[in-house]
Symmetry: C2
Subunit: 160 residues, 2 copies
DNA sequence: TATTGTTATACTCTATAACTATA
DNA sequence: TATAGTTATAGAGTATAACAATA
């Protein structure tokens, strides 16, 4: 849907100096919308919101997470995460267990039903993601992974 | 995740064990969270939510959009978009004008204040995005742009 | 009839502030 | 004091359904 127009206009507006990185910036934004929308699509079939789907997928790939860490992963305030987990727990998808070594903290893990839904939706997302990159050469895929990981680790710490 | 050690960004970061595309899928998901979170960060300084910021940025790069098209761009139901634009309009950031050639439709465009905020936040996002990729070689950036654009256009139409 | 958009409704999602309980 | 988490509150965001107006 009009990414040509987008590229042109944004290019004119933003890319002034030598490197014209604007197209890459825009490409990344579009890609990100697309990727995260996969969670919404995958969840819809199971009556899950995008946020619930992201939550399930974030937990299943880690097995067991502290609320604290989960908040950082999902970029959520602790109270927002509380509510999100509350609704998932109320629906029987996950449970909180106290960390006995630090009784302020809680571990979050999936129930059987949670694992079922998480597996399904996670697989859905991965399949669609794989399909999106399937036409790239293996070499391109490997290179892309490396570059993306670099960007992520650079962006994760907002230094300088 | 600590690839700081390597001197060059290309294949080195990725150990080429067989098949496993999971790292790429995961990397893309993490990246997407990071990228879209930039809108939230950029908007916060101006008391804008992530969605309002995305809305402003989507409109400013197009100048003038139909509600219909905007909904597709942002992946929103028409009623959801109605509310989003309502709040932006109520705040004096944009206005709806009737399309006289098709009186069912509306055009959305930014007010002066809307343009100001949109320019600021859009610039913020772009700057941070540029910073995230600034340490890649120019060649890598170009190649990455091409690959990302390929993925996006492949994912936009779910025709496998 | 089909399309473009709004309104009504009922949720979910989110951040801020104040709180409890551990450490 | 500092940290991990909850609760209260208020508002934003979202989808579904029903509706109006135009094509």
């Amino acid at each position: 849907m009009g990414e040509n127009v987008l590229g042109d206009e944004l290019g004119d507006a933003v890319d002034d100096v030598e490197g014209r990185q604007a197209p890459l910036a825009l490409a990344l934004v579009d890609l990100s919308h697309l990727v995260l929308h996969l969670f919404a699509d995958a969840g819809r079939a199971y009556d899950l919101t995008q946020q619930q789907t992201e939550l399930l997928c974030a937990v299943i790939v880690r097995g067991r997470v502290r609320m604290n860490e989960l908040g950082k992963i999902l970029h959520l305030e602790k109270s927002s995460l509380s509510g999100l987990v509350d609704r998932a727990e109320r629906r029987g998808l996950m449970i909180r267990t106290r960390d006995e070594s630090d009784r302020r903290a809680y571990w979050v893990e999936l129930t059987g039903e949670g694992i079922r839904l998480a597996t399904q939706t996670h697989s859905d997302v991965t399949v669609r993601l794989d399909r999106m990159i399937s036409h790239l050469s293996l070499d391109s895929q490997k290179r892309l992974t490396g570059v993306v990981n670099q960007i992520t680790s650079a962006g994760a710490r907002p230094d300088r």
